[in-house]
Amino acid sequence: MVRHIYQYNTHTERGFFLGPEHHSLYDLIALNGNIVSHTPAGIAAFVSTTGKDFYIDPQTHAFQHSTIHLKRDISDKEKGEPPKYDFKPSVARLARERLGGIFASVIDRDRPISLKAFLSDDNVNNSVIESVCQSIGDFQLKTMVNELDEEAKDLIGDTSKITPQFLVAPYFYLSATKWQDWLKINSACYRKMKLFFRSKPVYFSLVMSKDVLDHHSGEIVSEISSLHPDGILLWIDDHREELLEEEEVQRYVSFLKQLRGVTSDLLNPHGGYLSTLLCHSEAGRLLSGVGHAMNYGEHRPVIPIGGGLPMAHFYFRSVHARLRFADAAAVFVGKNWLETVESYKQNVCKCRQCQELISLKTSAEAAFFAYGESSPITFARRTGAIVRLSYPTPDAKLVATNHYLYNKALEFSDVRSRGFGELVAELKSIYDDLTDDVGDECCSHLIKWHSVLKDFPKFEH
């Protein structure tokens, strides 16, 4: 079965997981360790209400990068104070109270975890590995259960509802320069987790740079195959599928094929439509599940890039990509697709959210405009220049996210019910139909994906 994964990142997203219109759209919840640590009782109540399977990403790699990424600016801007950074309270709590050991040291010493922390005379230090694995496993299995009071336990009933479907072994990012060393640590952690925690499957989290994928995929697969992992969570740093060149698509597909040979469950929690297509049974189910966040892009960089404001986007399912609202509007207005309800439904979208807006508004044009409703926000650039941009209203964010989720669900439904060849051929026909009007930058990925996948049966079998 193809598993559709939703990432739960903030409590404000709760509504997109619950309720009859959303509950049936996804299969598995990915929780991040930070939110579980910060609000365990709230998360316990949430997951038990959904009744869905879930796992907890312990985010151990976060402690491996420069500590600035774990901090926030606490300076008083109104008093004109210069930036002053301190650890986010939730991160400090996760490290000190939940994980301890080398993770707590990151906060106490304000220095990231280095390879040296795991080595003793150039060999992997087993006692450190054991301590890390014990704390990471306990964190995933026990944090929610231990934080419930008796009343909450009575309410939830069976506490198995608040234990994850599988455990994730401690993991660190495989960078272009030190991937071999970190892979050794990750493998040692995986082996130890399997020994310590026999009641649950243990998944290997493979988080790597694109450079490592391009040049060392064979060595990575060889190492992982020796572990016989119960499952693999694959996260390629900032792997934006719409921007991949044809050779990169080819390499990605080849890598999945190799990984599939060493595990029965391969999940990509940050994948787009290309990955979803690769879940198809006629493509050998190279992936068994794909996930995304709530309408802020499927790809994700390992190290958060600071700044940036969330701008209005519209998921245009024909091209399987999120377009900036203005770019989508320019295309749809130019093609006269907003002139009638029939034209809108035929060319733009007929998801549940679009249909609801059409029924509420005076025209198809007004319905589409609801996705771009915004208020101006003002901020000063570093140069002192004042800039004003449009920031989506809460209503616009809500409908745009609903629209995104409904369309994602339709993509999964297509992969479950339609032929692989038909879906791949559709990539080219859509490209041919749209490229003259929307420009290559909006849809050239379709033809690159098609070029690789059209030969897939030959390539695969």
């Binding site: 609202f325 203005a326 509007a329 220049a385 800039v387 941009l389 449009s390």
Partner: protein
């Protein structure tokens, strides 16, 4: 001459023509350097650039969705023939700001857009609400 100086020169020139002029108006995910309403009630957006004219042409796609006319204003003689052709092809207008701060008549006349009415109405209301 920096970008702010170009903005100041163009704003003075347009106020001198009796137009209603505002600066830094939010237009979708972009900020329009200058927005004005001319004596025929048409909305102009003027993007001011010292360099990166190609980028301004790209950005103008968003502005064309909301304004009747879109211009690029830059330093006198900063543009090459190729860029002028590109500006013309994109349906944009081109203004030069001279070293003494005076602003030329349009070097390239813009085409009149057919903006999207919802976007135009939003831009107009933001101009009217701006200080």
């Amino acid at each position: 001459m920096n970008e702010q100086a170009i903005v100041s020169s163009v704003v003075s020139a347009m106020l001198g023509k009796g137009f209603q002029v505002k600066t830094e108006i939010a237009n979708f995910h972009r900020s329009a350097d200058i927005c004005l309403i001319d004596d025929e009630g048409e909305i102009w957006i003027i993007e001011c650039k010292v360099s990166s004219i190609s980028r301004a042409i790209e950005q103008s796609r968003t502005h064309k969705l909301a304004a009747d006319k879109v211009f690029i204003a830059t330093v006198h003689r900063k543009t090459t023939e190729t860029i002028r052709d590109e500006i013309e092809k994109a349906g944009l207008g081109l203004l030069y700001v001279k070293p003494d701060g005076s602003v030329s008549e349009p070097i390239v006349m813009p085409k009149r857009n057919k903006p999207w009415r919802f976007a135009r109405a939003t831009l107009l209301s933001r101009m009217q609400g701006a200080e």
